[in-house]
Symmetry: C3
Subunit: 336 residues, 3 copies
C-alpha cells in the first residue's frame, strides 16, 4: 500500500546511495537505484524501501520479494530475498524513519493544496475549519469549531460533532462522529534512537465505513503503514481508544473506555462491555462477547464469552471468582 | 416527562394510523387518534406512544395506564392496560425509533430558533460559539472555542473551559466545567434493526446543579428519555464517563476514569477512587466508598467500603488478595 | 516556590490581621505583618502563609521554619517552629483556600496582560487562539481551534494539535501535543467546607521538557503548588491522565489510559502497558516495567517488572493466575 499523497506530501524520489549516506548504512549495490517511498516489509514494491528487525531465520518469510531495498542488520541480511538491496545498519527501524522523513511529509493543517470541496447542501457550523483538499458530501454537517484536515473525505449525511478533529481519513456515509472525537492522529509508536525515545512516524490512514458511530472524545489512530479500518454499522462509545492498524468488522459494539491496541482484528458482531482492553496483534473471533473490565492477551475463538484479567472463558472466570470467595470466607460461615 | 422542545424541535402531531403504516404495525383501533410525542413506557401520557419489549407477564406492570399507544409484540399485547392502543410489530423498539424521527428532531448546532440571551456581565472568549436560544447567566465565562448548543441554559458565575461543548443541558450556578468536557451528547444506545446495528435516538437532557465540577475531557451523556442528573457540589475528575439517565447525588466524588453506566443511581457523599466502573442499573448507597479500580455489578449498601472486580466488601477483598498470595508464595518462603 | 505571576495575577499583599478576620482565626501576634502569597508548608518563606492539618507530633517536621504564618488547629499549634505565626482555626485547609483567593487570581482566558509574542516563523492555523502574554517559538505550529492560555510559553519546533488547550504551562522544544490534549487544567483537589465539597484551588504549573509526546485527548493537570513535570523524550499515549505534582523522568513510556495520580514520581525509562493505574504519592523506580492493566498502590523498586491489581512482582502474578486456574479447573481435567 503506497503512502497516500492526499495526506502525506511526496517530497520526490531519492537514491539508495543517498539513503545509505544519510543513515550511515553499509551498501554495495547500485547507488543510483531510485526509491520513491517507504513501505512495510511484507508489501514493499520495486520503488519502496522497507526494514527488518529480528532474526535472520525470519527474514526470508517477512520480506516482499519485490521490495526495492531493505534496512537490515548484518546478521539478518543473509536471509533477504534475491533482488532486494540490503542497506546494513545497526538500527534498521531508526534508519527507516530517517528515510521516511526524506520521502514524505505529513500535510499540516495549514497545507495549501487547493480549496476544499464542500457540497452545497452540506452545513459548516460557525468556527468549523475545513482544510485544503478536503471534500464534504451532500447533507453532511460539520459541527462548531470542528476541524477537517487536509485531504479528508466526508461522505453524505455524515455528522461531525462540535470540536471534533479528523485527519488522514476517509469517512463513509451516514456516519455519526460525536463531539471531541479524534480521528487519524498518529498511532503510539516509539523506538530507541541514538538520543533516546523517538516517535515512529505513522504513514497510514483511517477508513470508516457507512453508519458507524464514534463516541465523544474517542480516539481512532491512523495506521503505521496499512490502514485502521472500522466496519459498517460498528458502534463505538465515548472515551475509547482504537490503535493503529486495528481492523474492526461490521456491527461491532464497544462500550466506554474500550482500548483496542495496535494491529488487533475484531470479527463481525463482537460485543464488548465497558473498559475491555485488548493487547496488540490479538484476533477476536466473530460473534465473541467480552464482559466488562476484561483484559485480553490472547486470541478469542468465535462466538465465545470471555471475562476477567487475564481473560478466560466466562464460565471458568465465574468459577474462579466463586471458589476464591468460598476459600477465604470467614470460618464461621464456612462451618454453617 | 415530555421531550423538551428547547432541545428537540417538535415536528407536529401524527396519527396512530400514520404510525401503523410507517412501521408496518397491525392495528385495529382509532386510526385518527393523535400522537404528539414518544415517551418511555412507565411515564407515557395520553398523546404519547411508548413501546414494550419483553414477556407478556411484565406488560401490565411496566406500562403507564394512561399511555396513548404502545408498540408491542403480539404475544405481549394481551397484558396492555385497558385504553392503551396496541400497535403490534415484531421489533417494538425499532418501530418506536421510527416514530420518534417523525415526531421530533434534535436541534442541530446551526438551529435558527432565535438569538442567544447572553447577560451583559458574561464573558465570551474568542472563538466561543453560543447557539440559538441559549442563555448565559450573570458573570458566567465561556472559554475560547467552547460551544454552547441551542437552547442550553448556563447559570450565574459558571465557567466553561476552552474547547468544551454542551448541548441539551441545563447548567446551574457556580459550576466549573473544565476544558474539553462533553456534556449532553447522545448516550450509547444500540439496537438491532433490519440492516444491522442502529443508534437509538436519545430524547432526554442533562441537569447539572450548583457548584458541580466537571473535569477535563469528561463526558456526561443526555438521558434516553428521563434526564441525567448531577447533584449539587458533586465533583467529577478528568476523563470520566457518565452514561444516560445516571443520577448522582450531592457531594459525590469521582476520580479519574470513573465509568458510570446507564441508569445507575449514586447516593449523596459517595466517594470513588480512580477507574471505578459501575454496571448499568446499579444503585450505590449514600456514603459508600469504592476503592480505586473497583468493578461493580451489583447494588452497594450505604456507608460500606467495597473493592475488587467483581466488587466485594473491602475486608473480604483484602483477605482474598492476602490468602492467594500466601498459597502461591514459593515453597521455601512458606516453610519459614 | 512562589505562585507564578504569569499564570496567577497577584492581587496585592494583605496582613495577618486581615486574614485572621477573613477566616475567623484566633491570632495573637503582629496583626500588621505582611503576607504576599500562599505556599505549601514545607517551602513557605517569610511573606508566605501555609497550613497544617494533622497531628501535633508531625507539625515541627512538616513546616518550613521560615514560613511567615500557618493556619493550624489549636491542638497542633504547639509544634509550630518558633517565629512562624499561628492562625488557629478548625479547618486549616479551608482557611488557606480563602487566603489564596484574596492573594491570587487565576488569569482567565480573556486576561488582557499584553499581546502574545508569536515568532514570525511560527504558524497559527485558522481559529487558533493565543492569549495575552503567551509566547510561541520559532517554527512552532499551533493547530486549528487550539487554545494557548495567558502567559504560556511554547518552544521552538513544537507542534500543538487541533482543538488542544494549554494553560499555566511552560512547553519545551520539539514537543508534540496531539489534538484535544488538555494541559494545565486544575488538578482534582476537593476538601470539605462548611457547605459541602469545595474545589481546592491549584496554584502550580506544568513543565514539559523537549521532545515529549502528549497523546490525543490526554490530560496533564497543573500542580497544587509545586509543578507537574514531564521529562525529556517521555512519550504519553492517547487518553492518559497525569495528576497534579506528578514528576515523570526521561524516556518514560505510558500507553493508552495510563492514570498517574497526584504526587507520583516515575523514574527514567519506566515502561507502562495500557491502562496502568498508580495511586497517589507512590514512587516508581527507574527502569521498572509495569504490565498492561496493573494497579499500583505501593512503591516499585527499580528495574523490576510488576503486574496485577493490586500489583505484585510479575512472576508472582503469573504464578497466582496459573495456580488459581488449576485449582478451579473442572474435575475431569485435573484427573487427567
Amino acid at each position: 500500500m503506497p503512502v497516500d499523497p492526499r495526506f502525506f506530501e511526496p517530497l520526490g524520489a531519492t537514491t539508495l546511495g543517498a539513503l545509505a549516506k544519510l543513515t550511515g548504512a553499509v551498501f554495495s549495490g547500485d547507488a543510483g537505484a531510485q526509491i520513491d517511498s517507504v513501505a512495510p516489509a511484507n508489501s514493499a514494491g520495486r520503488g519502496d524501501i522497507c526494514f527488518h528487525e529480528g532474526a535472520a531465520a525470519k527474514t526470508a518469510a517477512s520480506i516482499s520479494p519485490v521490495a526495492g531495498a531493505c534496512f537490515v542488520s548484518e546478521a539478518a541480511a543473509v536471509g533477504l530475498p534475491e533482488g532486494v538491496a540490503a542497506l546494513i545498519v545497526s538500527r534498521p527501524r531508526w534508519a527507516h524513519i530517517q528515510a521516511g522523513h526524506v520521502l514524505h511529509k505529513l500535510r499540516e493543517w495549514d497545507d495549501v493544496g487547493g480549496d476544499p470541496d464542500v457540497h452545497e447542501t452540506a452545513i459548516l457550523a460557525p468556527g468549523a475549519v475545513v482544510c485544503a483538499g478536503a471534500a464534504i458530501g451532500e447533507h453532511a454537517q460539520i459541527g462548531p469549531n470542528a476541524v477537517i484536515g487536509p485531504g479528508v473525505q466526508i461522505g453524505c449525511h455524515t455528522k461531525v460533532g462540535a470540536n471534533a478533529s479528523i485527519r488522514c481519513a476517509l469517512i463513509g456515509d451516514f456516519v455519526t462522529i460525536l463531539s471531541g472525537a479524534r480521528i487519524g492522529e498518529s498511532g503510539f509508536g516509539v523506538t530507541g534512537g541514538p538520543e533516546g525515545a523517538e516517535n515512529i512516524p505513522q504513514w497510514g490512514r483511517v477508513i470508516i465505513q457507512d453508519h458507524v458511530l464514534v463516541g465523544a472524545n474517542t480516539c481512532i489512530d491512523r495506521g503505521a503503514f496499512a490502514d485502521t479500518m472500522i466496519g459498517e454499522r460498528t458502534k463505538i462509545d465515548n472515551l475509547c481508544q482504537i490503535g493503529h492498524n486495528v481492523i474492526l468488522g461490521q456491527n461491532v459494539l464497544i462500550a466506554s473506555f474500550g482500548g483496542i491496541s495496535g494491529s488487533v482484528t475484531v470479527g463481525d458482531s463482537v460485543q464488548m462491555g465497558g473498559r475491555v482492553g485488548i493487547a496488540d496483534h490479538v484476533d477476536i473471533g466473530e460473534g465473541a462477547t467480552l464482559a466488562a473490565s476484561t483484559g485480553i492477551f490472547r486470541n478469542i475463538p468465535r462466538d465465545e464469552a470471555w471475562g476477567g484479567t487475564p481473560a478466560k472463558p466466562m464460565r471458568q472466570y465465574l468459577r474462579e471468582v466463586a471458589w476464591l470467595k468460598k476459600q477465604v470466607a470467614p470460618k464461621k460461615k464456612r462451618s454453617e
